[in-house]
């Protein structure tokens, strides 16, 4: 049995599906409790119903975008694991980056079904699980104290928020620029010196695919601004990725 067939086996579906089901039940419990509490404290029921309808409709398009992410990852990690990761805790760009770093750490040259092994997969899955758990860990240990502290002074809260939003936002963007630059730099370096210093004989495919991805994203951003289509944001990353991935099929034939 090939590795992808193993990763798509009913047992793996069952393991991942059970966790998705548990989280779905949690969502139902939180929603029902919130609705009942809102009613009990005299909140307008119409407002709560409007929230539910607005949130459900708001979530449809981004969810389709997230589904495209599952498709993008399913070729190397099988379908059930990306399904679980993108239903619970994860986000497409996080998952792909962590999976790639994990693949490198286990000694395969990248996130690819042709090199995937069962050991590599279970290690990648563990790393994907652990790398992005911190929000939950902090919630588990500090959310009660943190929300109480916030509730004790609204002015302090605003001040804290604006201070955090100052360099904090810039640092986060810079961190992602650093992350993206490391990978793009490696594609450039791989092409220029991959087969010997400055021989320009290495593989150009990853660099070309990245350029197509960037061009597709530019197109999405242009269309969003030109037609004031905010809904396109939900598809820009996944859509650009799929366009760039499709280009790899054709570009690969040229190489």
């Amino acid at each position: 049995m090939g590795i992808l067939s193993q990763l798509n086996s009913p047992v793996i579906f069952l393991i991942c599906g059970s966790i998705v089901l548990v989280v779905a039940l949690m969502c139902v419990v939180f929603a029902v409790r919130a609705y009942r509490a809102g009613k009990a404290i005299g909140m307008d029921v119409t407002k709560m119903k409007r929230t539910i309808v607005a949130s459900a409709t708001f979530a449809v398009l981004p969810s389709v975008g997230i589904l495209l992410g599952v498709i993008a990852l399913s070729g190397s990690l099988g379908t059930p694991w990306p399904w679980l990761r993108l239903s619970v805790i994860g986000a497409l760009h996080y998952e792909t980056q962590v999976a790639e770093a994990a693949a490198e750490a286990v000694g395969i040259s990248g996130l690819s079904a042709s090199q995937m092994t069962a050991k590599a997969f279970s290690t990648i899955a563990l790393l994907m699980s652990v790398c992005i758990i911190w929000g939950m860990v902090f919630s588990l240990f500090t959310c009660k104290r943190y929300t109480k502290k916030l509730g004790s002074g609204a002015a302090g809260q605003e001040k804290k928020k604006s201070a955090l939003a100052g360099f904090g936002d810039i640092a986060m963007t810079a961190m992602f620029i650093g992350l993206v630059s490391a990978y793009l730099g490696s594609y450039i370096g791989g092409f220029v010196s991959g087969e010997g210093l400055f021989r320009f004989a290495g593989s150009w495919l990853p660099l070309a695919v990245a350029l197509v991805g960037a061009a597709a994203m530019r197109l999405f951003l242009w269309a969003r601004e030109r037609f004031d289509a905010g809904w396109l944001d939900s598809f820009s990353i996944a859509g650009s990725m799929l366009i760039a991935m499709a280009s790899a099929i054709f570009l690969g034939r040229l190489g």
Binding site: L4, N8, I12, I15, I19, V22, A24, C27, F30, A34, A37, G38, K47, R50, T51, A54, S55, A56, I66, S76, T79, L84, G90, T96, A102, A105, L111, S122, A125, I133, W134, G135, M136, V137, L140, C143, L150, L164, G168, I170, M172, A174, M175, F176, G178, L184, G185, I188, S193, F198, A210, G213, M217, D233, I243, A244, M245, A248, I249, G252
Partner: protein, 228 residues
Amino acid sequence: MNEEKNRQIYEKYLEATHRLGRLSCALTLVLLIAAPFVMGAYLGAMPDLGAFGKGFASIGLVYFVSCVAEYLIYVPMLGAGGSYLAFITGNLINMKIPCAVNARDIVGAKSGTAENEIIATLSIATSSLVTILVLALGVLLLIPLQPVLQSPALQPAFDNVVPALFGAMACKYYRHNGRVACPTLLLMAALFMLVPALTGSTSFMIIPSGAAAIGLAYLFYRRDAARA
């Protein structure tokens, strides 16, 4: 009198929400960490902890910092119930936060109020359920397509998921940050060209690359603040 009663009900609700939230987080953490081991046992190959440690050292730090920032910024917006649920279900930036803000704007709830707490929880629970449903339906439809998705003709596409992602992200992040992005990219490209062996450790290179980008961003931030 009525206000006092409502306050008591709300405080009782909040207390129970924290208990439920902590329990849910703990359960989800256990399930998510156990899953790779359970799958490993089924596949006959447990995770390689040495490789895990190596991978965590390279990429874990980046996400730790990112998670701290997200936690500090989003909890005040989402309240207790919304935060527990949002950190469990993920997809914060691309869905949960805009969705909760949208719901809050629609009903006109203010940060830190009981109304905001209830609205954010309802909004995040509903959007998470929709995502779970859409993904489950999508995955169900994907099952018959597995032979097509696994065909050799499509393998170049799946082998290039990461360059495709980073190309798209580069456009998004570089667009308004050229003065930080260009020198960082040039530096990394020069390093990889001069020391091609580094290509095998790209994830480790995120650390110096991230440090260079944050350092540059800080210099520009200080300069812009001094000018303002």
